[in-house]
Symmetry: C3
Subunit: 272 residues, 3 copies
């Protein structure tokens, strides 16, 4: 068995204050290696699964009504992303959320591309009643969740996070949890706290599924964090710092995607 | 925010005559960043989405009858690949094509693996009536589209493009658009023009989904090109030159796949 | 056309005794380039397809009842992995297995995540009657296949292969074929033979779908090997030696995944 890997120089993560603030959550996640049941866009499944594995969590992915709810019973957390919303997922999602709520497992809602699409928009709004620990989306999606704006065109945001702050506060009132609004600067808030994270790289928008991965990583962090706000903040910093590290090492969007997975594994290891 | 990436030496793309001929389309695509609704094989979704993002377009992927047609209404172009042809896609494809035709959006048909399979073969033939701007396939698929040959065994072609030229001309007569036949030498033609593209690398056949990506890139190009022929030619040159660049940098099929995405981003940037 | 790739130094594969023992199967596979119909977890489709291509085989992937059985008629082998088990796959799997059995094609069963899930567990047990050439799984899955243990939590094994040896022998009695139990040490056995393969790297568990790929590679090998045992042994050594080579070259789980595909292509080429 060979397991040692060569190391490479990178930014001075050991003295990064944003990272230091969330390092306890990162270390606790790696210690716990939580099982996360992920329902996500088909196109993002691979990066979500490998991103969780790189971070130290363990993904599970099934979405049929026949099997998905049973799988949720053994998961530590649930991440529901409406990305593809296949017929199987349309049937499975309400049932897995019901299991997570019944069993007291934290769950994260990622209302991908809501606004225009006729099934996912009312589905996402209705799921707020099931009190997700975190709602994660871009500004367009958070606006659409409370009935403002027209929603995203595809999976990318047209609006900046701050423009969605009032909508995010309304989501917090409805869900009782935290909301993370992704953008050039990320906004994380709940009923009592608010954080802006001005980290990351525009390269993250050149790779499909990085937002989906952030949602799933947030679900993984919610297993070991104090609450949804702390989980969302830790996952947001982790992804963005990993993105910065990957951008330094990459030569384009293909190598950035590969380096991002290496960086998710590397970030946070310096303090352990 | 970090966004600068290191640069690496490569072929002298600035003096590549094939690339120079299509560079205006590449630049126009990056300026426009078209939204492309892609229905594609599940196995190729990731490379299609990340390939479009690397090129400068924006992918959207949903295929259910309930949501896909609404998504098409906001797309700049539509790419329909019959690769997986799930039950959701069987229902969604005719409906999204109808929207594209109604709204005057260019659309591309990629009749993957037709010939043997009983649902996709009549479906693909019927879709010619909806006048795709471009039909892109390998020689076996183009032959099968007009009822010649037995179709591909899997997604790889057994026949060379030139052998499908008569069939391609028949497709042009039926669709009124252009046809691109992929192979070691690519053939692009419409009612009045014909081009052979003897570029690329055999490494492109060692990675799944490069043909699907070429179809989706053709759809993206069709938003900014004069017509289907120009779009198909630009996408074909772009993919093949990127493949050559990637092959110079890669050490095997895994690294080739990564380098291909970097190269799609790099190609065409030298003249801007 | 550019096709030459740079070469890099690596372990002395030319003098690796485990590899030498299975090199004839590797060479025969590359000569034959078998078509393998793969039904696999959605999340693993990309690595399964590109891994087979890197190894020298050709993947095909469709799973609907309407088309999948027809596709199987032209395949050289069939790999059935229960990973996602979509509604389409639930309907398609029994039909494709029936075609493989009728046409005398070797097929491999990968009973992913059985034990807890209510549809796949009886499905997998019933499929043993269709005499798969090889059953490949981790210890938890092999135990669950004969009704022992609770099955895996997700796709990773909680039990070591040796603990499943009695269960593996019972599977051999039922299926008449070979069984490969994956773990830190891999166990391969049939009615008359038994091999332990103590090769590989823990990095293989940090990438999703490597087990699915091993099952599909086993199916590809079964086209050219003497029997299921020889196919399973060859595929197991091939994957593990490629994993060792990739681990030497990788800097984390993202680069390991890329290097694994390069290594599947490189391994076995030294003796040809």
């Amino acid at each position: 068995m060979t397991s040692s890997l060569p190391t490479r120089p990178g930014p001075d993560l050991a003295h990064d204050p944003d990272l230091a603030a969330v390092a306890p959550v990162i270390r606790a996640l790696r210690e716990r290696a939580p099982l996360v049941h992920c329902i996500t866009a088909t196109v993002s499944m691979e990066i979500v699964a490998n991103g969780l594995l790189a971070a130290g969590a363990r993904p599970m992915m099934t979405e049929t009504l026949a099997e998905a709810p049973v799988v949720t019973t053994v998961a530590d957390a649930l991440a529901v992303n409406l990305g593809t919303l296949s017929t199987d997922a349309m049937e499975g999602i309400p049932a897995v959320v019901e299991v997570a709520v019944r069993d007291g497992r934290p769950w994260v809602l990622d209302p991908t591309a809501i606004g225009l699409a006729p099934v996912r928009t009312p589905l996402a709004r209705g799921l707020l009643d099931s009190r997700p620990a975190v709602v994660r989306g871009n500004a367009s999606e958070v606006l659409a969740l409370v009935g403002s704006g027209a929603g995203g065109r595809g999976a990318d945001s047209l609006a900046v996070p701050e423009s969605a702050e009032a909508a995010a506060r309304e989501v917090v009132r409805k869900s009782g949890g935290a909301v993370a609004v992704s953008g050039e600067t990320d906004l994380v808030l709940d009923a009592g706290r608010r954080a802006l994270v001005a980290r990351g790289t525009s390269q993250l928008t050149r790779v499909t599924g990085t937002g989906c991965l952030l949602g799933a990583l947030t679900a993984a962090c919610s297993v070991v964090a104090e609450d949804g706000f702390e989980a969302a903040l830790a996952a947001t910093v982790w992804m963005n710092v990993a993105g910065e590290l990957a951008a330094e090492r990459a030569a384009g969007p293909g190598s950035f995607r590969m380096e991002l997975l290496d960086a998710l594994d590397a970030v946070g290891a310096e303090g352990s």
